[in-house]
């Protein structure tokens, strides 16, 4: 089997183009929509945070005071501090676009960006209760 064929280039270009198109579509569809961050503890919604307040703030949720969130001036939210071992939540960086999410699985805390006043039902996910 060969390592690389000329016909590979369009395939790779196609994949990258699809990625770009998806990313662009997402940004454009949600460009002017007011967004909020929904914070879940143990799969239950515990807090909704406005993101376009132009303030910087650090806060925690009372269900899990070991996790510290930070609200940034540019309208993004991120995990700032956590007592979990792997710190994956903090390494997820800043969340800003609708649909983006991050989680601190050991602490059962997760954040998802959704459109204001609407459930996150635009996405293809299944809710099993």
């Amino acid at each position: 089997m060969r390592f690389f064929k000329k016909s590979d280039i369009p395939v790779i270009a196609g994949i990258l183009l699809i990625s770009l198109a998806l990313w662009g579509w997402y940004r454009i569809s949600y460009l002017d929509t007011p967004v909020v961050a929904a914070i879940y503890y143990d799969s239950e919604l515990v807090e909704v945070v406005e993101l376009n307040l132009n303030t910087e703030k650090e806060f925690r949720i009372k269900q899990q005071p070991d996790v510290v969130f930070k609200l940034h001036k540019d309208g993004s939210i991120s995990f700032l501090k956590s007592d979990c071992k792997d710190r994956l939540c903090i390494r997820s960086g800043r969340l800003k676009t609708v649909g983006q999410s991050a989680a601190c699985l050991p602490n059962k805390v997760s954040v998802k960006i959704i459109r204001k006043n609407k459930n996150a039902d635009h996405d293809l996910d299944i809710v099993i209760r």
């Binding site: 790779i12 990625s19 997820s92 999410s101 991050a102 809710v127």
Partner: protein
């Protein structure tokens, strides 16, 4: 009882030593996967999507598929998942398993349909991408509502990069593996 001829004994010996080589090679790949797994967790790599790992260790599963076949690749994926289960917990174990199985499935299908007409690069890329997507699917089942299509672009690009790196590394490995006499 009819005695085996000399040729038959030779064949049996060859078959047995090939199997031994395969088993030992699997162990080697498993050890490498463990090291890669530890390295991946130690380095501060930015997270692509909730719960999804870069999949460096999955490269070993891909190599197992290339060099040893489906059976050993599946074995390695299972071993990796058990390791993840023991060291990082149940969720990590499930994610590892889903990523590995998805990767093997897609690569095996590609190899079955296209055979020699595929290139290592494309198969590796698809293997890496399906590893990421498999993990994403697992996360979205376990933590319903957490995951959305917005994570796709990053995972696709990461898959391309990881797949390309896998294929490049493969180029250096093939001469050495050929000398093992597995084929």
């Amino acid at each position: 009882m009819k005695e085996n001829t000399f040729e038959q004994t030779e064949e049996i010996n060859m078959a047995v030593s090939k199997k031994i080589i395969r088993v030992v090679f699997t162990g080697l790949l498993f050890a490498a996967a463990i090291v890669l797994s530890i390295a991946e967790n130690s380095l501060q790599i930015p997270v692509l999507a909730p719960g999804v790992k870069l999949g460096l260790a999955n490269v070993m599963v891909m190599y197992a598929l290339f060099f040893l076949g489906k059976r050993y690749a599946l074995l390695l994926a299972a071993l990796k998942a058990v390791f993840a289960l023991i060291t990082r917990g149940a969720v990590a174990g499930i994610l590892s398993l889903c990523g590995g199985l998805a990767s093997i499935l897609v690569m095996a299908l590609l190899l079955a349909f296209f055979g020699e007409r595929m290139s290592y690069l494309i198969v590796s890329i698809f293997g890496a991408i399906s590893h990421n997507l498999g993990q994403l699917a697992a996360v979205s089942v376990i933590y319903t509502g957490l995951v959305a299509l917005v994570h796709l672009p990053v995972l696709l690009v990461a898959g391309v990069v990881t797949g390309a790196a896998t294929a490049v590394l493969l180029k250096f490995l093939i001469p050495a593996v050929n000398r093992l006499g597995l084929k």
